[in-house]
Symmetry: C2
Subunit: 385 residues, 2 copies
């Protein structure tokens, strides 16, 4: 069996697991760096290996538009194309279709939209997205779902959630058909994850989770439609509701989350996998994570600061360069600056999850997570917008 | 003695040498990657170490404006600031003052100009430039010189060349004064190189070279004002003229040159050191060097090309990635693409000089250089503007 999830330790809802995939074991909880276009922005695959990144993510929507999923397949699939031989997960494009693309028409069949690159007219259906994700060849592929704004009212959320369930059945049928049609890869070269939707409505979330659970045995579960505008308290509450319904012996992936504090709060509520563009996007904007909160490297006070960004960090930026140098690179628009800031931020989240695993295994998770959150929120390091 | 130059082998004018500096030995002939603002654009110092780059260059003009040479000194000097513990050379800013800055006023005392960054009024004199380069702390520092366009007529060229000689005397006096005033670093922590000017006029070049030679014993010699608009044949001819006058037992550095073919032609004419922004600038523009000439990675024909950029290259790009992937990164504006293209190009020149050294030591230089030039100029790989 290519896919397998073993729980090694739990502490309340929090857990340490081993998620086996065709491209290796993911030690959970883990943060997945986002490689939208088959590259984690500003980083080299060697940087990710050096920080022991467990799994990375790529985007079906973006790669379908450029360079094209059929070309990626022709070139040997995502792993070979981008030279990352570890586990990969592809997002289905649901989020991008509903956030990036313009002039959408949604009906039961699927979504018609215009490409954000050249305005060309495209159509995604559950079936076409399965073909795209199969072409890309990631280990874990996400279902095509209907994503709505975070504060959507209950009727809108119910419609989208129920449509996502119907689309899940179609995704599964097409996925199974593709596996039969193309048996060379073998069924277990990829696993299809469903996505629990339902907005901030506890009842809808529980219904969706139960319906998905009752559809069959999945290799893992996505939790979507969070961190899209709702209050953090709502997100944390929903995680608790969903946790109570999903099978405990499968990994749960909280999509598009998040910031360091969200990762710790998520682990406390039973989440195993996270992804977010924040570390690279914020890095390109000069904002870095530290154990004492965020800070922006542009600030004049760092002009002659000989300390590393985070004195306790062992990343390839902090072990070599001063704040003064990184600030100089950043204000001079030097690419090395963007790389170092992105690298530090991704490393921060990857190693935060490593610390969480160690705390769980060492039976110190409750104290560790409380102390970590308290220090991070104390924000003794100056923050700018 | 911190500085020393030993000739290990010669073949006609071409030579292999060991140039000892306070930060290590430079095996010549060598190409120096340009780190204008204390970073070789798009590269990490580890990339340069991995390709066995011998020595790198930084710019006094740029670093004086940003972040300021006094700050660099306060932070421990260039080596510590940018985390490059190998040899460094700083250009004096002569070229930048005459090419980048606006509203110049040149007189015997120095040059007044406006910063290209904020328009602030600045003044460079031979004395102030020595203080800047001493603050930066490179191993080799260049004199402040008067640089003119490549096709300048003889009277203009003579004026600039003679002024550069007078400025050289002032540079040396100030350099020696600074060494006495600040003896901690010790005299031999830095070496001042003069620059032979004289445009494309053989007589002026020979006069300048002889005058500099007769001023005393220098650790090495710069040859400036070439590759600035003159014909290549003129540049090669001038190198031969200068070669006949300069002492053979000191390294010669051909400033701002160049392209791969210029390096091979330069070595044939006795040049030991080169530098140029071409590999990184062209890389950022999508143009790469190959053994069969230049090519631009943007071209549609590379869309599904599984070969590396140069199948014979052993750089960190060519040993891992296909043309198809690098092209995808480039057309998608992904930073990794700019890094890989820059890395390949710098590696190409660094390893070209390594090949030249091996050919010289193996007594095959004449045949090697002719075959290399013939293949490179045959340009079987498509070129675009």
């Amino acid at each position: 069996m290519s896919f397998d999830f073993t729980l090694e330790k739990t502490s309340g809802a929090a857990r340490v697991g081993r998620f086996a995939t065709p491209h290796g074991v993911v030690h959970t909880p883990a943060f997945m760096a986002v490689g939208t276009l088959a590259t984690v922005k500003a980083l080299d695959p060697d940087d990710l290996r050096a920080m022991d990144a467990q799994m990375i993510l790529a985007n079906a929507y973006h790669l379908h538009l450029r360079p094209g999923d059929e070309l990626v397949r022709e070139l040997g699939g995502l792993h070979e194309f981008m030279r990352w031989d570890g586990p990969i997960l592809t997002d289905s494009g649901g989020f991008q279709v509903f956030s990036l693309a313009t002039l959408r028409t949604i009906d039961e069949q699927g979504v018609e939209f215009q490409s954000h690159i050249d305005g060309s007219k495209r159509r995604f259906t559950p079936e076409s997205v399965m073909r795209i994700e199969r072409n890309l060849g990631a280990d874990v592929i996400m279902q095509f779902d209907h994503v709505i704004p975070g504060q959507s009212e209950v009727n809108v959320a119910r419609d989208a959630s129920e449509r996502s369930l119907r689309w899940l059945a179609r995704c599964r049928a097409e996925f199974e058909r593709l596996v039969v049609e193309d048996p060379i890869q073998g069924r277990e070269s990829q696993a299809l994850f469903p996505i629990v939707q339902g907005g901030i409505h506890a009842e809808l979330r529980r219904e969706a989770a139960a319906a998905i659970r009752d559809m069959g045995d999945w290799r893992g579960y996505g939790i979507g439609g969070l961190s899209v505008g709702e209050a953090k308290a709502d997100m944390y509450r929903i995680l608790e509701d969903v946790h109570s319904v999903l099978p405990t012996d499968r990994p749960r992936y909280l999509m598009g989350v998040g910031f360091p504090e969200d990762l710790v709060e998520g682990v406390r509520r039973g989440v195993d996998l996270f992804d977010c563009v924040a570390p690279t996007r914020m890095g390109r904007n000069g904002t870095v994570f530290t154990r004492d909160g965020r800070m922006n490297i542009k600030r004049a006070e760092f002009r002659a600061d000989r300390r590393p960004i985070d004195p306790e960090c062992d990343c390839a930026c902090c072990t070599r360069f001063t704040r003064a140098y990184v600030r100089h690179l950043y204000v001079s628009d030097e690419m090395l600056g963007l790389r170092l800031l992105s690298l530090h931020n991704v490393h921060f989240l990857v190693s935060l999850m490593r610390e969480a695993r160690a705390a769980l295994l060492g039976d110190t998770f409750d104290g560790w997570s409380e102390a970590w959150l308290q220090r991070y929120h104390s924000r003794t390091v100056p923050v700018t917008a």
